[in-house]
Subunit: 338 residues, 2 copies
Amino acid sequence: MKLILIGLGTVGRGLLRIFHDKRAELESLDGFRPIVIGVVTRTRGTLYHPDGLEIERLLSLERLGDYPDTPGLERGWDAERIVRASDADALVEASPSNFQTGQPALGLCLAALATGKHVVLANKGPVAVAYDELREQAKQAGRLLRFEGTVMAGTPSLRLGMQALLGCRIESARGILNGTTNYILTQMESGMSYDDALAQAQALGYAESDPSADVDGWDAAAKAIIVARALFGKHLTFDAMQVKGISAITPEDIAFARASGERWKLIAEVSRDGGSVPPVRISVSHPLAGVSGTTNAITYATDLLGDVTLIGAGAGGAQTGFALLSDLLEIYTDSTSR
Amino acid sequence: MKLILIGLGTVGRGLLRIFHDKRAELESLDGFRPIVIGVVTRTRGTLYHPDGLEIERLLSLERLGDYPDTPGLERGWDAERIVRASDADALVEASPSNFQTGQPALGLCLAALATGKHVVLANKGPVAVAYDELREQAKQAGRLLRFEGTVMAGTPSLRLGMQALLGCRIESARGILNGTTNYILTQMESGMSYDDALAQAQALGYAESDPSADVDGWDAAAKAIIVARALFGKHLTFDAMQVKGISAITPEDIAFARASGERWKLIAEVSRDGGSVPPVRISVSHPLAGVSGTTNAITYATDLLGDVTLIGAGAGGAQTGFALLSDLLEIYTDSTSR
């Protein structure tokens, strides 16, 4: 399976690391053998080789420019050209999310579908901003669009709702969908100030240098939009949601909640009526109260089963890399069974 | 899709109720239209009609003998004859579990596979006792064997482990897999005696009149055996497991645990080294401590994602009926995509 990888940050490298470490195991799954023919970074250039790039070398490079010259290697192609001119089977989008326009990832995804490639995303932007357009383009092209890694990293929240619960009606979803804010709130529970907890989250790589998408609730809102659209066809936009972050929560708020046997959590909620992302005080005995650190959780309210809750990692290179892998495996299995 | 249903208790009726209530919705899923051509009960006789039985009538009958005469209806055939002589696409096994021999269900399942039918089970006996034999027979016949309903009712615990986590290595599983004992322990937490809690569980239909399979831990052990075999290929038998029930737990034990900030739970554990079902005292802040009543939970320890926990209904007619439905939908999708 020939792939183009957009983005070589934590997630892109996480996927390559799995390809490298699990090579034999993956090949035992019906012969799945990923070949990365293109790599695109925002500021560090691109690489393209129609026969495939060496994964071990990509993982060890400081800069793409250090990749050794080989016959057929192209260094100067831009992302669009690699997508359009190559015969890749799938595009893997693992660059940072843009919640305003979804670009430049959205354009690349549409170009990939238009030229007959499947598309797999960990990037939330295009899915949150242009789900319908992507869906329609995929349908017209007869190609698959998968985005498990956009919600709860590799913890299979979308696969649970879309496949394992098929036949149930999902009425609503509610959960802790942002690892950074949950980490900060957990640290504040143990006495840290908001600023110190944020600084620690940044030092550990959980929060970006500009943390606003996380702490102001937009990242959780994007995930809520994706869940609502993919699982119960509810069309939501950022504008239509009440979104509030955690930056105004003080140590006094935390202490006050604790004295009442409660804990602050940033909860994303969506139903067929709409959605919101409010910081909420919940009882310490509530199932979501025990979800701490960067762990995420989602509860689906269903007609036949009642509540179904999934708890697991909400971030991380290996974890989100696994989401991309499982989407690719699904596409691979689908295409080999035809 | 033509079906034979073995067992018309809570689970069998739960499935028929879904067929009835969701007829239009199911037909919108690629045209899935279940036709029940045979129904087998242990003590109330059998019905067989090659063109299908009326589901609404089956649901309203007190006794199968009250089903109206129609041309082609057979009332006297035994289960084996219906399985062998009919052209059903799948056998649905929803009769009570026998943990000693798996019979009579095991024989029927093997006969169904041998005559080219897919097999779907909520009955734990055959899977716990003869997984390898069933698997091999299914492979030889080129038919599918599915058993989501044997563990955590319709909460998709097996589908999560076998499909959604494909590509991860599952090292071990640990959870609350028996609803009856968890209900009893939850009631004892609020001050009830063991005997009163058991009587209440029986009155509510959670526990059998002979509750030993539940309270002595064998039901949880059967589920642990199924999880270990299906998810990480570990062959376990009842004899090889340390299994202890909850009947010796006293109100004093409960009070003593509570004073230490702990709670009793019957925990099933399996790893590549073996398995056990012990009653365990866990901290009230432990994620499994909040799983109360008949709710079940399972935590998979994986290499790439760390712990992944699923929480949901562990029993019930609609819930286990949904498990059977989702297995049938998978078989249907698989056969229509070929």
